[in-house]
Amino acid sequence: MAVITVDGKDIEIGDSERLNVIQAADRGGVAIPFYCWHPGLSVVASCRMCLVEVGQKNKDTGEVAMQPRLVPACQTPAKDGTVVVTESAKVKANQNFVQEGLLLDHPIDCPICDQAGECWLQDYYFNYGHQKRRADVKPFTSRRKDLGEHVTLFVDRCVMCSRCVRFTREVSGEGELQVIQRGAHAEIDIFPNHPINNTLSGNVNDLCPVGALCSKDFLYNQRVWFMEPHNSVCTGCSTGCSTQLHVSENKLHRIQPRYNPNANDWWMCDIGRFENGHVHAEERIDGVKRKKADGSGWDDVLWNDALPEVEKLLKDAVTQHGGKQVAFVLSPFLTVEEAYLLGTYAKQVSPDAPLFLGKVPVVEADETFKAGFTIRKERAPNRVGVEAVIKHFQAGEVPGWDAFKLAVESGSLRVAYVTGNAPAVWNTDSEASVLEKLHKLVVHDMLPSPIARKAHYIVPGVSSAEKDGCYVNHNGLLQATEWGVRPTLGAHVDGQTFSEYLGRKGMYHAASVIREVAQKLPFFARAVDGVPEAGLNLITGSEIRPTTTELGTVTHPLPTFRSVGSPLLEVERV
């Protein structure tokens, strides 16, 4: 074990770990402030906020030789015997000066700034800055430039940490951003007529530690302190990025990536981030619908009446046509728990009822970026998980959507229960026309669609933002998502509906169901004690890398704050 000493406190780090002093100090609960350093980007050591005093302890004599100058903690590797001082007068004076410098030309327009409340400049100034402004510079100018479809720049709020520039060069690889001008006039810009429109562009807004780069999507939408974060998983593709839903007053305001070295590192794509309009869509299905006998429209059915009706429909069909002709289509957008409950129910309706995997939308190819981040061509979150569930209930190959359509066309299926649960471009009239052949069709979905219009019953489902559950990504990583938004009025959480079909009493509780799944299905055995934040590797069996040890969060680096610098702040806090 290598031991480093930070402010007189010994901190142990693993021998094979390559940590810098910021990371190592964080292990011991000592927060070193920084702007430009980011664990996912190259080190430039240019903001100079993380300067500390560093020395080396002589193993034999115990003597400490300190370097005469301040050094950047981000650039200094933590090695056995490294001694770090973060609280000396010299260190504080520098933090003080850097803060003062950054605010010289800063507009200080916090009241109208989107970043206020999660702004590092605000927080650091509070902790490390002067009490009084010595600067005699007339500050207020506030220029705004549009850099791309999702990105806007408030020029004078920038602290020139160059994180965004490095991101476009090192992670997305498109290099749209650059620094123009020199010295105090330096600013971030795009090359003329080449806006930042790559599919990772939203990440630069997260990376910006201050209010310079703002998301146009979120701009002036909500003050950040009113929003609650909810851990979620992106359902846009089979990468399964760990995300956070930021919600206030039951409204989803924005989605940000959540650090997970097993899935997405610090990033997520713009598709998953911005294409969430369906959550609060006007046209959401707001109750169970029964098609009128003449097919001219829909009757609303009360939930209490609807479930027995649907159940009767299915059971009658089994009696009438035999179980083999009653199909259940399990969408890859269902969670593992939902797929398991619906599968169980199907087999309860008839042990012969065939299960099909719903349509897995696929685009032409994976899109892989310079640093390895990939948007998968498989645009569904849980194909692997739902397949595993179907395999549990019926041996052999898992039949897919095309097999389902063929079976319908050939007349070997009479009745079907189809789950959808996603806004889908593939869901077209021509795709739906095949289903006309069915005798009866129940569609479980959240939005009206061509397929839903063919249904005899529509049971409203919810979006991924509204439900608890687990998804298994392309690599076999099982991750849990939690609800952030209550189901839209009239809709029920899918798992609840399926529970009720099964006659289970009480509220649907995803965490209990996944434990049940883990006990019954060997594929999910690892989830028997619940699902940790970083997820579980179901296929590779390799160890999960934890999410907490590498200062991974993009939104804010510091879990703990010290009060230093200003006597005003040295008030005991409760």
């Binding site: 240019s46 100079r48 100058r69 520098n94 410098g101 010595r134 005699d136 007339k138 010295g183």
Partner: protein, 450 residues
């Protein structure tokens, strides 16, 4: 010292001194012939090391020692970058060498490359030197035409190509890693060290960066020997002082009768430079102060003019160092704030903007000084300038490169050496507001556009 014969400037002033025939008539290209005739790279490095030659670019780092930092047995390529981005205000010794004796420079580059096993040299020349650029290029062409550059020079296995690269007028490109970044086609933001260029420099390969004047000394060391070189200058005074040996080109400008570039042994005093070479302070006035070696080195008062201008001298009176040995003389009519305003404006303009303390510190000090010059100074501002000066630079460790030190030293020296004058100026120009404590009140006193 009176009988000192110019060495580096020996050919300057002769007709067509920049052509190959003239250089060869005066003993040119003897050194490289001698080296190729039987010396090994290690021999050359040892010779240069024992000569005590120190870099003339400003930092004064021992040249031979710098070369030994290159990784041993590196498969190559190793690059030589020649720093001719002479941007320090009032410095023009490299220009004289490049314009009037480019072959001497080229021979120095050849010797440096031979010693360091570099096979490609990039000469980074500032764009404001068109004549130097043209003469160097034609000198290089002459060398290629006569087989002095290119493959297998003199039939040996030593090959060398020299490329000229013109900068785009930025002071920061003279910082060695800024130069390398600029050479690679990037923004000249100095790199963090380690790794040092000797380990990972241009195009991620080991790289030596040497100044023009340093390299121009090499042929003479090889030709005349270590003992000759060490007989010139000021010997080492202790273990921490490697000594200041060899001839040096001193530039003198400003308020003197005969500004120019003069060669003298290291250790000339400012007063000697002004009296013997510069023709004395102009118009019969009294001298007030001078900068020892480019504005970034700080400020010397007239009383300190007897300090020898060697690598150790200016440091003894609180200056940063010898720098480029470009002395700018100011007579008694120059106010301390005039000097500071122009100096700080220069550094605010040239700060690359990478490190926060330098970017903000330089521009803040410029704006404070503009306000003082506009008659709105406060006594507090003197302390503020001193604080800024003490907060920026690699000396306290708060920046990546030394540009901020250059910006800090004039402020620190001025406050130390001319505080009385500064206070008097502020009280005189701002009789009602000099005592204002609060920055907000100062804001109301003047609104500056920036």
């Amino acid at each position: 010292m009176a009988d000192f014969e110019p060495v580096l400037l020996a050919n300057v002033g002769k007709a067509d001194s920049w052509t190959l025939p003239v250089y060869e008539q005066n003993g040119g290209y003897q050194a490289i012939r001698k080296v190729l005739g039987g010396m090994s790279p290690v021999d050359v490095i040892e010779t240069v090391k024992s000569s005590g030659l120190r870099g003339r670019g400003g930092a004064g780092f021992p040249t031979g020692l710098k070369w030994t930092f290159l990784p041993k047995d590196h498969p190559g390529p190793i690059y030589m970058c020649v720093n001719a981005d002479e941007s320090e205000p009032a410095t023009f010794n490299n220009r004289i060498l490049m314009e009037d004796d480019p072959h001497q420079v080229i021979e120095g580059i050849m010797l440096g490359c031979f010693a360091t096993r570099a096979r490609v040299a990039y000469l980074y020349i500032r764009v404001e030197y068109p004549t130097a650029y043209k003469r160097l290029q034609s000198a290089i062409d002459e060398c290629y035409a006569t087989g002095k550059l290119g493959q297998n020079i003199n039939g040996t296995d030593f090959s060398l190509d020299i490329f000229l690269h013109r900068g785009a007028a930025a002071y920061i490109c003279g910082e060695e890693t800024g130069l390398i970044e600029s050479l690679e086609g990037k923004r000249a933001w100095p790199r963090i060290k380690p790794p040092f260029p000797a380990v990972e420099g241009a195009f991620r390969k080991p790289t030596v960066v040497n100044n023009i004047e340093t390299l121009a000394c090499l042929p003479h060391i090889i030709n005349r020997g270590v003992d000759w070189f060490k007989s010139i200058g000021i010997p080492s005074t202790g273990p921490r002082d490697p000594g200041s040996y060899g001839p040096k080109l001193y530039c003198v400008s400003g308020h003197v009768e005969k500004p120019g570039c003069y060669e003298a042994p290291l250790g000339l005093t400012t007063r000697e430079l002004i009296e013997r070479f510069g023709g004395g302070v102009w118009k019969g006035r009294k001298g007030k102060m001078s900068v020892p070696g480019g504005v970034s080195m700080g400020l010397m008062t007239e009383k300190e003019w007897d300090i020898p201008l060697d690598f150790a001298g200016p440091g003894k009176v609180g200056c940063l160092g010898l720098g480029t040995a470009a002395v700018t003389v100011m007579d008694e009519t120059v106010g301390i704030f005039d000097y500071l305003t122009y100096t700080c404006r220069f550094f605010a303009h040239e700060s690359c903007g990478q490190c926060t303390p330098c970017r903000e510190g330089t521009s803040w000090s410029e704006r404070i000084l503009q306000r003082i010059m506009a008659g709105k100074g406060r006594l507090k501002d003197i302390e503020l300038l001193n604080t800024i000066g003490n907060s920026i630079g690699i000396t306290p460790g708060t920046t990546i490169c030394g540009l901020a030190d250059g910006a800090a030293w004039p402020m620190k020296n001025a406050v130390t050496k001319y505080r009385d004058e500064m206070e008097a100026f502020i009280k005189k120009t701002n009789p009602n507001g000099w005592g204002v404590e609060d920055a907000v009140e100062a804001l109301q006193l003047v609104q500056l556009g920036h």
